[in-house]
Symmetry: D2
Subunit: 488 residues, 4 copies
């Protein structure tokens, strides 16, 4: 294998993002590289070796020998052998075989079809990658949002629908919506992750080979997969491949999460608009916004996240197409399914960039208040209509609209027009002090923005902590088989 | 609204499929038509009226009056009013208002933003449509597959990978894979269906209006939604819209199911190939296969299902794009989200067509056996390799490959070559009778095909029965509020 | 066929848009309905009949008889026959046959495979629909944009990149960009439209049947297609189907045009934002913006166009998938390809809605000027940097950035800081009067906005006029065969 | 920039395909690497420098100095500077500036906005990559197909529709269809390639900066672009970006070509099926087909091409989404548009793999004949029906169907039944000798398969040769500016 420069890569993800960020690269490599994939396959071959030893098929020192051999295999050895024979799993098997004593060799990979190894290895690494990187990183983003939401639980902001002023909220409540949506998606990702499956049922999925030796072949499959922290396919029935729905669900959970992140990015981008100016990415001094316009400061991290979503969201179509495999399998999903980890890398990178942008987000409270005040003349129309109707006014909505239009045309404040309107007096007199306050100042008409912000933050903070603990426990438990291989 | 002919419609689904099949049309119309949508919105307005009555905001006869008024509103009334004022929910509100006494009018729609009504109505109808049509119909397909799988649990078939002969299975086992995959998807659909949510939190989601009257606004929201069999959004936090993830998950569950159906359709299509000839759609006498080739009998229902998948699968992209809505909402998801029910109609129609094709599927056992026999010369290579390795043969895989190649070149049966090979004798002598049988006849090498077919069928048949019971119970319970409206 | 209400349809396009707009419906129906499709197929059968007559295969009165018979066939006759025999083209053939004398019947559809008829009919109707509706309607939109662009050729507007103030343009120039982009797409659509092809090469595309009678079968094919204003597939080679690339190119041209329309819709939507307020859809008095917020006026037609783009853009995926058809054809593109006219209907409808929204667009010149003035403080940074550099200032960009930052922090106008800066004086003294003006007033720094707006409008107006003339001429020529059928 | 192993990359394209194939890597790197992109940007900066020199804005030795400086800049220098200032084009500008004398520095990048450089550089490299790699490689594939088609112009093959036997063709004719489709796409690609455009109109596209010095700014833009072999955007109107339609059309041309390749791959895959067995990828001895089934020989290169299509086709959606950019541009297309070259690399790689698979395709004439013979009993039904009808038989189609069914049921050859049928005799007697031959032997019923195969091959071979000559001439002409930079 040639040594190369990042700048030579054809994929911008490698060249500019994943590869160019040493810390990110170091964290992801153990899961997303080819190296990592081969290593996971070795883990599956080792689990098989242990089963063969335990069930007396292979000699007692067989599993240890495979572990030792596996520890010394590098991806380049496998690739050189693949170059020669044109089959990557058989190449791996040959690499193990030539590193152990001849009498043990027949037992390597015995009963397995290549795809027993690769599909199980895929489940293994997607599960670990999601557990060790994607979910914890999403939780860091979540925590940053929670912190910011709490800080601004009471910072009034004008709500906007259709881009137009609607009714008042707080900036914290705006963020609390994302806390809830991301929290909801974290649950969806975790559910799909836990549901990844392996298989050990042979070339056409009917346990043909395994059944030559074991009457209860599915039990052997379960025992093998248990060593890897996995379960078998529903009802122990499959073709050559694990039914694609398990991975499809995980990718969907991630794509739909990506959309939430893109939505957040879009929202903040628009708050950056010169005319709105409620947020501002904080740059350090040396940064240049434009090569020709010296005054520019752009929301480029938020733009980046949206751009990555546009690039990676459509890949769900590939995953759906890959659900179709002819009869006991065709290989037209082989290259394409390799790109799932690339997708996950791009997702992870976008989470990291978005988190850093959220942490460096300047909230322009002065502009927020300015916009709020400008809007508040109009937004009173809703509470006016509601309060009139509550008192039985026969056409509260129409009346409020007419006053609103008059206010727009004459420039007179709505509240003045309300007070001047004799016919409204009886209705207004019956208002409670709270209701009156809501009508007088838009900042008293933020509903439950502040209260619910706190509740939402509490709820998802607690959920996050529990999730991280569970993931951590699983990770520690799963490290053991890995170490066996590396320690060998 | 004009009366039209189906043949005038622009959408083939309306003109040729949904509209042209009276039984299907009659079953789907109560859920997917505009009419149905308006009716669901009326149900939400009525639930609101009941709440206003119960909590003493409106006079005690208000809810009954709304129910009575609602019973007489037709979609054309609403559309005429929309034509005039340009806002469909306000048009509905006006229709109710003009049908009740003046003093009651202010309470119609009170506290609600349009989208409280439409998003909740959408949840209501998607939930019912999935419960009353999609899931039961999938279960009918499932039952047809189970019946066929049981019938052919022992019918040997050659498994195929890459389109080439692989190892033996049974035709029942081939089908059992689909039973399991569809069963798995039914669970996914049901989980997403139960998780659909409504909202009643106002124009920017912060309960601004409701809070003018009720301190614990979320409790009011819950009470209202409970009347409709729904829950509120996670953690009672939203913008103007229900977070789109709930519907997104349901559409994903359906799209990924559609892929499974397309896979089944493709598989059976290929089994129809003239050279394979293992299945045959049964046509009646009058049918014409081709306008110029009098001999043709094509798998056109299976082709149809694949074609519909190609048309409707990409719509998931729309759903992902619709997850993004600016700030408290923009309206760029308004037209597009209306097409979700169209998608579901197309899905339902494809299920019906596929079910009928499965029921009318001719299984050509003679061809199946012919292909099996032709393959069996080759497929012995695997058990040979496994059995040699089990006995410790140093290169079972290589040896089997060499014999295989020789058999191909010379035309001599593999078993003859095996027997002729002196060096193999010691290994073969140690085989158990079962192992020997597997090597002698490919039909003894189908692994657990038959056994697992039965187990899988039992398991998913039971699960299906339980699901239908649960859905039925829910349907009966939910009919009550519907009847209230119609009976009024 | 049942008579139905629009409100019963499953597809929102039928129920709410196409079907609900009588004028639009009347214009599109002759092209997009099932009826229209059958009628186009009749035209192809008639062209075939004429060929058979001209070449002496059928009796001399055969073509006239087919024309007469065709004139009396309605879509319901065909559908009833299809119901019986399960094959729609054969059903049409039977309808013709039973309306003519027995001795003529053998010649109906002779040499044709169904798909010769349907693919040619598809080319025919897509070509006419694009010619008579899509292109003329796009030209109406184009004209509305041109009118508005000319009107505002000199109306200064601040250009925005990343949503932030960039450099000055005029509102006319903003629009001129869309004039050019739409003009460019009109050319692309027209090129693809003219390139649609028919075929008459039989069941596997090798002229097997036709060759039984005619040595130069491709010449017969060309003669037949010429009657319909079509050409044959490149190099007269095909499978059962016209190579799908011709239609694929047309749909791409339309989808990519749709994206341009969506971009325009988005841009105008954002100009509607309360804080920006540079445009405003004009509503009439009765219109309601929100059911709860009496003050709302939303850009809903622009939102609609974006929403339709989200729904229909992904359908390009279907078209790409339909490029794949196995061997001499499989039928998995049959249902899906029927949806192409639905897509075109949705596109046409969006054009109409966008055109009306553009015609009713209020341009808020006061807000435009207000934003421009607010921006102008900053935007001078670019001309300052350019002019300094032009004079050889060693670090014009850095200097401009520093002054800009100072201006931001102190609130002092940039121009004041420039004048106060001793070191800049020598550079500024050498400026031409024009250059000085550009630096002093941002409205003098709009580049060629106004000039180019005029040039662009002239260019595309002329091109549009020429195109419409050409289309008109073609339409008149093509009407003749149509009339023959109807007149018969 | 760190040195890395391929096996560390996250993108399978880099790790396993592009990066792992030294010859391919060497050919593509000069176009698709980050390095290449920076180098193209340098070319644009140099063209600008030449213009500034020629028009007397900068000193006479300025352009030479920039060329010299550019020759010594490596991508890592630019990236280090980008790391510092956060803007990649400004970083490049700084790299040039610090390598030339101080008095020249103000003129570097003068009048340009970053995107003038990057969009023009993008056009430059996409144009060259398509010219030097994609089109020539497609032509190599085309030539391989032509060779094979000629070889098998007369090899009879049964045509298949719906996977069922249809009518006879030749294997050459099957291939000729792909020759025509690929030829058609080559034209589409070349048209889109030639239509790529650059720009030099500044930050908001209105020539604001350039107009400070030049009255006829568009003429300057044209002069600059001419040096790079490019033209300006239609009508010299743009925003900050070149209108995205030009690149969109190129990607569409490539995606739609990819679908044709995927179709070919699918077709050949299916011909590999064990039961059909008409083609066979030729493997060398050492190759392993399956890790457990020693007998397997799979069509894996064809499977690979289909798989890559599934991965890369959906990316068109990204390109469509990137057509939308807010106002004078937002940056949400920045990351995503970088992936266009990755797509093109994947496309190029798939072409190479497919070409090699076509060159190594074994055609199993014996099986082809066997299937043909098996089918020929049935396929006579069509000529029988046609010939009967030609003679005026009142129900040729029905009669042929009945005989066909009888033949199927009784096993009697169709020709025997025909001869036995008294009523047919009068019709058959009138047949020409040619017609009779077609009826007697299916191999006489291949229509124009052989003739048209030759014509198609001649036509596209000639077109290919002309294209390559034109591309070659352009390449030689374009190399000059490149050399200037490298030679400097």
């Amino acid at each position: 294998m040639t040594e190369l420069r990042l700048a030579d890569m054809a994929c911008p993800l490698d060249a500019r993002y994943y590869g160019a960020d040493p810390a990110f690269f170091a964290r992801l490599r153990p899961y997303v590289s080819e190296d990592a994939f081969i290593r996971c396959q070795l883990q599956v071959e080792l689990a098989l070796a242990e089963i063969l030893t335990e069930y007396g098929v292979a000699p007692t020192h067989f599993a240890d020998e495979v572990a030792r051999a596996g520890g010394s295999i590098e991806v380049r050895h496998v690739y050189e052998e693949e170059e020669r024979i044109g089959h990557v799993v058989r190449a791996l098997v040959n690499c193990i075989r030539e590193r152990i004593d001849e009498p043990l060799r027949p037992f390597v990979h015995l009963f397995a079809t290549s795809n027993d190894i690769t599909d199980t290895a895929t489940a293994l690494r997607l599960k670990a990658l999601t557990r060790d990187v994607l979910l914890p990183d999403l939780q860091v983003l979540q925590d940053a949002l929670i912190r910011l939401a709490r800080l601004h639980a009471h910072t009034v902001q004008i709500g906007r629908t259709h881009g137009k002023y609607a009714e008042p909220i707080t900036f914290g409540y705006f963020l609390a919506n994302y806390v809830a949506r991301i929290g909801n998606r974290i649950d969806a990702i975790e559910a799909a992750r836990r549901n990844l499956r392996g298989k050990f049922s042979g070339a056409v999925g009917a346990y043909n080979a395994l059944r030559l030796k074991f009457r209860d072949a599915p039990a052997i499959e379960s025992a093998l997969l248990r060593k890897l922290g996995l379960e078998a396919v529903d009802a122990h029935v499959s073709t050559q491949v694990v039914h694609p729905e398990y991975v499809t669900d995980l990718v969907h959970a991630l794509v739909s999460t990506f959309s939430v992140l893109a939505n957040l990015a879009d929202d903040v981008r628009h708050l950056h608009r010169s005319e709105i100016d409620e947020t501002q990415e904080i740059y350090d001094e040396a940064r240049v916004g434009s090569s020709t316009m010296p005054h520019k400061l752009n929301p480029k991290n938020f733009e980046f996240v949206k751009s990555m979503w546009k690039e990676f969201m459509p890949r769900m179509m590939t995953v759906y197409m890959d659900q179709i495999t002819e009869h006991q399998r065709d290989l037209t999903n082989s290259a394409s399914s390799r790109f799932v980890t690339e997708f996950m890398t791009a997702f992870a990178y976008s989470v990291v960039r978005l988190t850093s942008a959220v942490k460096n987000l300047g909230v322009q409270e002065r502009s927020m208040r300015r916009n709020f005040d400008e809007a508040s003349a109009e937004t009173l129309a809703e509470p006016l209509y509601i309060l009139l109707s509550l008192q039985g006014h026969p056409d509260g909505h129409g009346h409020a609209r007419r006053l609103m239009r008059k206010s727009r045309e004459t420039g007179a404040p709505l509240m003045d027009l309300i007070r001047a309107e004799e016919s409204l007096r009886p209705y207004l007199e019956r208002l409670t002090p709270d209701q009156r306050r809501a009508l007088e100042h838009a900042e008293n008409y933020t509903g439950l923005s502040a209260e619910r912000t706190e509740i939402v933050c509490d709820q998802f903070e607690a959920a996050g902590r529990q999730l991280l603990d569970r993931l951590d426990a699983e990770r520690r438990e799963q490290e053991r088989p890995r170490q066996k291989l590396q320690g060998a």
